[in-house]
Amino acid sequence: MSDHDRKYLVHPERPPKMRYCSKCVSPMSSAAPITFDDDGICSTCKVADQRDEVDWDARMKKFKRLCERYRSKDGMNYDCVIPVSGGKDSYFQVHIMKNVLGLNPLLVTYHGNNYLPTGMENLKNMREVFGCDHIFFTPSIEVLKTMNRLGMLMMGDMNWHAHCGINTYPIRVAVETNTPLMIWGEHGFMDIGGMHSYNDFVEFTYRNRHEHDLRGFEWYDFVEAAPKFGEKLEAKDMIGFMHPSDEDMDRVGVRGIHLNNYVRWDANEHGPMMVEMYGFKESEEEFERTYRRMSNLDDMHENGIHDYLKYIKFGYGRATDHTCKDIRAGLMTREQAIEEVRIRDHVKSKDLWRWLEYVGWTEEYFDEVCDRYRDPRVWWKGENGEWVKDNLWDKE
């Protein structure tokens, strides 16, 4: 919605009172497609609980059989493609495929030019500790800067290029190298959103990528929009963002597995395990918007202003997401979570300065663009024109 057709709601015409999950702290306005049951518990909590009912030994057996079908018969090709960012989940995926199952994976990294130093160290370290072939792909920096600006203007997200790059470039590699099996980590909206049951064995699909990861936009939307915003972008700049055709996908038989359907996924366990086994490093510096130091080190804005934009749009941020996970894992009480959310979710983080410098914007312009994307289900204007929303800690 553009700012022209957005009607600001003026107090007392406020949206309905925000509902929060009674078990974790997810708001109804979640960016993920969550639903609430009659007891006020969100779909994410319910699906997370299913993990205890799954027979994980039987799943591993099933998975081994599946992998054997894709193992290169003569050793003249890779057995699978693993998209990796160098994060703890990437380490875990390669650990399972290479060192537990003995397959020969090809690692593929989309490099969006936002790596934190520790994230880059972790990525480079993968080459040393796993001994796999590894492709690094970086689009032209000028193109990346343009896509950062356009992403903000088109949908209030500078990191669309990363969502698209991560979910496209490795698939192109699978097609180009004739390697049908792709190993993804968790299904994003199953993990935060509870979109699927563990009995669905949901796999990577173009539709889910297009609609949810990419919000219905593709490279051609950027090329088409560029002139309207005074930017220059051509098809030839966007090759890495072009999803292979159905015909190519069928010819190779590309199939993307989500490993969380076959191996019990618990990031709180995997993180320390990867530190110990392979020298994975947590961030030395603390983040402002989350207390976790082992997530999203591949992109300084993911824990920063990209996440701040989620707060602007939907009224919550990564502290909410991370505390929800930790409540579900039994590591945190709901009261502790509320405190974390209270001090972190609203923070405008300092990586904004790098981004403004990177793309040549002023903070005023950034704020103005942000305000266009405030969700009317969350925000309204107070009597003095300030932005107001309900909060998790409000008394009933």
Partner: protein
């Protein structure tokens, strides 16, 4: 011989496509129009949409997507018709002939009537008279109660005490053109189709029967085509789960010599 059909069923709740389990758990899969566009690329035989919203609110969800959420049944059908070029059947919330008119006018080829067929059976006759029997699909939702398939209406909450086989005969008498037979117990359970009830129903009526409920993979389709005389097999959730699920299923069915449109 007519082709036997394979039909994706899409459940709509408050303006979004949902995954359904046991008629009670619903998980949001996504935007209706995005789904429709993908099924169009998959060249499906026909599409059935059933609006299972309990109330008439439309979830606007986030508005930073390219395709915005839809906010009325008219918009839903009109927008689907723009991106979908296969026969379109639309059900849910149909109580009167005006409800049927609206759906046909905005682009549906057939309508599915469920609870209203039970509460006001004369509606079936009225629809058949106005649009022809072929336009009138009756959805018969049933649960197994002490070994008997019993018709349940109103989102599976109302036990009518009627054997679904008798109910289907009754609907045929009233002018129905097709039966959408839906096993509530198997919804979202991926436990295979209910061959016994499906066979009982197909022997009791000359109407085409569409069987739904229980599909986990293509083997379940093969089994139900081979074990019963269904005209069509439908599945709700499973086409959401894997890449090119529909064309791949079709390919497997052709390989198994099931008489489907390739």
């Amino acid at each position: 011989m007519q082709y036997r059909r394979l039909i994706p069923v899409l459940f709509i709740m408050n303006g979004l496509i949902v995954r359904s389990e046991d008629f009670s758990t619903h998980q949001i899969i996504g935007n209706i129009i995005n789904e429709a566009a993908r099924y169009n690329q998959w060249n499906v035989d026909e599409l059935i949409y059933v609006d299972i919203s309990r109330d008439k609110t439309y979830d606007s969800r986030r508005d930073d997507h390219k395709i915005k959420a839809v906010d009325s049944i008219e918009t839903i059908i009109t927008e689907i018709s723009k991106v979908c070029f296969m026969p379109l059947t639309f059900g849910g919330g149909i109580k009167t002939i005006e409800d049927v008119d609206l759906r046909i006018r905005t682009g549906a080829d057939k309508v599915v009537i469920n609870s209203a067929a039970y509460h006001t059976p004369e509606l079936i006759t009225e629809v058949a008279r106005k649009y022809g029997s072929q336009c009138c699909v009756i959805s018969a939702d049933y649960r197994m109660v002490d070994g008997t398939p019993i018709l349940f209406t109103d989102f599976g909450s109302n036990n009518t005490g009627i054997n679904v086989v008798d109910w289907v005969k009754e609907c045929q008498k009233n002018g129905a053109g097709e039966i959408f037979l839906h096993a509530i117990d198997r919804d979202g359970k991926a436990c295979g189709y209910d061959f016994d009830t499906i066979s009982d129903v197909t022997s009791a009526t000359s109407l085409p029967v569409i069987a739904c409920g229980g599909a986990a993979d293509v083997d379940d389709f093969i089994d139900v085509y081979e074990e019963t005389n269904v005209a069509a097999v439908a599945a709700g959730n499973m086409f959401h789960f894997t890449e090119r699920a529909y064309p791949r299923a079709k390919k497997d069915l052709v390989r198994e010599k099931i008489h489907v449109r390739p």
